[in-house]
């Protein structure tokens, strides 16, 4: 299973095999919501997920 590093607490976050860019995962340690920004082979980059942008909506 690919892994990413939580930018807040530094622990490994397991990423499901079928995950896509833009998907939200939770850090198992600190609970922070993380957004997948890049998937390249087994390497996955995440950032703290935005909760609401100024122009977000329906």
């Amino acid at each position: 299973m690919p892994k990413a590093i939580c930018p807040e607490c530094g622990v490994d976050v397991e990423i499901p095999e079928d995950a896509l860019v833009g998907e939200i995962v939770s850090c198992p340690d600190c609970g922070l919501e993380l957004e997948i920004v890049e998937i390249a082979g087994g390497s996955v980059k995440v950032r703290v997920a935005a909760v609401e942008g100024e122009d977000w909506g329906e």
Binding site: L20, V21, G22, E23, I24, E35, V37, A49, A50, E52, G53, E54, D55, W56, G57, E58
Partner: protein, 284 residues
Amino acid sequence: MVAITMVYDQLRPEERMLLQSAEKLGVDLIPLSASELTVEVSSREKPSEIGDAVLQRCVSYFRNLHLTAALEAKGMPVVNSFSSTLTCGNKLFVTLALMKAGVPVPKTFVAFTTKGGLKALEQLGYPAMLKPVVGSWGRMVAPLKDADSAKALFEDREYMYPIYQVLYIQEMVKRPPRDIRCFVVGDEAIAAIYRYAPPGEWRTNTARGGRAENCPITSEIEELALKAAKAIGDGVYGVDMMESENGLVVHEVNHTVEFRNSVPVTGVDIPEKILEYVISKAKR
């Protein structure tokens, strides 16, 4: 087989539901994060990663609108269209389109300064509502309870980005503590929900914790929702209405509908209906 590209920002429950429906229907739905997309607009060639039609699911309004413009210019069918998205993304433009089509709307004024806003309130009376013309999920929607608080809010706006200085001021419609969201796909009203404001909140937006309940589609709701959707153009919409003392009024038409809370309460497979509609628009 027809290939549909779903462009998105964050993969929310809605986008996951669409992918599941596509699998069930045997539709080739390709998820594509807008963050990974580059479109050459000085060429008519379509990007190689884009299928026969595009399902637009970006949660960022400006990204949604501009990406739709770029893809539609290449002859791609995009749901919703640029024109619909442009209109729906601005509450004033929606109100004007609804008015033109004879759809009842709440009494509404537009003004551009504190002085102009207060003048509108002399006619509307208090309480009234101040809404940003661009914005969603009830963000920055404020009740105007008296002239002092209205003046303070208007003055705040003078320090904000110019789009927020367009003052869209609306009567506070006397309604039950709920409103109605009717989902329209093409020329069909497929489902409706009541949206109840959560405790301690007057906004009914489900993104703010509003509760969804099934709403039977009466002939009045259906007729009004279809008329409102037609006023914007062919597409997929969430038409929001309020039960005023003088009957239903439409206050908003949404272009990138969220349905995670509506599918369980209505029992209607909204993502499936949306996909079938997009397929019908795809070039074969």
